[in-house]
């Protein structure tokens, strides 16, 4: 019994210890990345290519999910609000929930699973096939040439995707609320405009999406760079990216919401 308990606590201690090591390593990695990120702005073509891969190719999934989330919000909100005779404020409900919370968070989650996992797999596979070591042999810094453009591409793409998600969501809410169930169009827009503040709501949402973009990109490039250079290691790293990024987004969202509102 005591042996079992000893092993149990030892394994917990090992996991905590390992987690702290990895966190420290990840922070040092981020610092190195920032120091060597000059090239991703001087040769912007490198970053633009990553914006294409992480941003443009995520457009469809982001816009379609935004549309449907907005439509669901419109239906659910209408059903609840009309019970209290205030279905005119449907626009406020849809816009505030999208701009403040769902836009950044849902776009961040989709971004982590659509683009973050791809970045991890790409960098991990480059490491497994020793392409990163080959670059070092040629005196090309792989962090500056491969990792930093992917990081900045994600940081640029994420706020744009979140804004698109919110905008298509509001449009979806408009489609269902005004066109389908017949909320008054003037009330829908005017109540929305009088209650949604540009600085309080929209800019805070943008700040959230920038923070999520940094976190997701950081986690995905780090997991890829830190992956064990085997097929199994790359697949584990990809899974870890999606799981860690999703948890970190939700946790950071709570912290940011507590600070902002």
């Amino acid at each position: 019994m005591s042996k079992f308990l000893g092993n149990f606590f030892r394994s917990i201690g090992h996991q905590v210890d390992d987690g702290i090591w990895r966190l420290g390593y990840a922070c040092r990695f981020l610092l190195t990345l920032l120091i060597y990120s000059g090239i991703s702005f001087r040769r912007f073509r490198l970053t633009a290519k990553e914006v294409y891969f992480t941003g443009v190719l995520s457009l469809i999934v982001i816009m379609v999910s935004g549309l449907f989330v907005g439509m669901v919000l419109g239906l659910q909100g209408y059903n609840t609000l009309q019970r209290y005779g205030s279905s005119d404020s449907l626009g406020v409900l849809v816009a505030l929930s999208l701009v403040r919370e769902l836009g950044p968070v849902m776009a961040g989650l989709l971004f982590a699973s659509r683009a973050g996992s791809a970045v991890t797999a790409e960098i991990g596979l480059m490491k497994a096939t020793e392409q990163l070591s080959a670059m070092e042999m040629m005196a090309v810094n792989p962090i500056a040439r491969v990792v930093a453009p992917r990081f900045w591409g994600g940081v640029i793409a994420m706020p744009i995707l979140a804004a698109l998600f919110s905008a298509t969501g509001v449009f979806g809410g408009y489609l269902v609320g005004v066109q389908l169930v017949g909320v008054d169009e003037g009330a829908f827009w005017s109540q929305m405009q009088s209650s949604v503040d540009f600085r309080e709501d929209i800019l805070n949402g943008v700040i959230k999406s920038v923070v999520f973009g940094i976190l997701v990109s950081w986690i995905s490039v780090f997991e890829g760079y830190d992956a064990e250079p085997t097929a199994e290691g790359v697949s584990n790293a990809t899974t870890r990216t999606v799981v860690t990024a999703s948890l970190v987004i939700l946790f950071a969202d709570f912290i940011l919401t507590a600070l902002m509102f």
Binding site: R45, A48, K49, V51, Y52, G55, V56, L59, A95, V99, A157, P159, I160, L161, A163, L164, S166, A167, T168, V170, W189, M192, Q193, S194, V196, D197, F198, D201, I202, V206
Partner: protein, 155 residues
């Protein structure tokens, strides 16, 4: 450096992001609607402003004519000094009555201007002398309770 279709797509993506930000700012938010154009300031003193906030609406006959731009506490009279920014298009007589009102039973508070009959108009920086404070529900309830209690004593 030659242009490629990739640049086209990235440019398209970024411009869509900008368009949706503009949409959010102007159509969903109130960035465009909140400026009153040319405006002038008036002051009003209240014993109690309730939960009035900076940027609360100033309405006359239900129409938004301005916004609350500052709220200060006057240490000499112990009153709240509220600065109202009113659009230049609207002029009010000097005996205008400023009341703090509530939209609906539990809604937001705003300043309602009831227009008087004077021929002289309020100018930039003038103080509205006739004001009525916010109604505090707790005060109303306690007045009601005391009244009930004193009625009980008589019987």
């Amino acid at each position: 450096m030659s242009r490629t279709t990739l640049d086209l797509w990235v440019g398209f993506f970024v411009s869509m992001g900008i368009v949706s930000m503009i949409f959010l700012a102007l159509r969903v938010g109130n960035l465009g609607g909140s400026n009153l154009g040319e405006s002038y300031q008036l002051k009003a003193r209240f014993d109690n402003i309730g939960s009035l906030k900076v940027r609360s609406a100033v309405k006359s006959a239900g129409v938004v004519v301005g916004r609350v731009s500052a709220i200060d506490f006057d240490v000499e009279t112990y009153e709240a000094e509220v600065t109202l920014t009113i659009s230049d298009r609207y002029l009010f007589p000097t005996d205008t009555f400023a009341k703090i009102m509530t939209s609906g039973l539990l809604g937001e508070q705003y300043i309602g201007l009831a227009v008087g009959g004077d021929e002289k108009m309020l100018k930039r920086g003038d103080v509205i002398s006739k004001t009525q404070s916010a109604i505090v529900i707790e005060d109303l309830i306690s007045q009601f309770m005391f009244k009930k209690a004193s009625e009980g004593d008589v019987q």
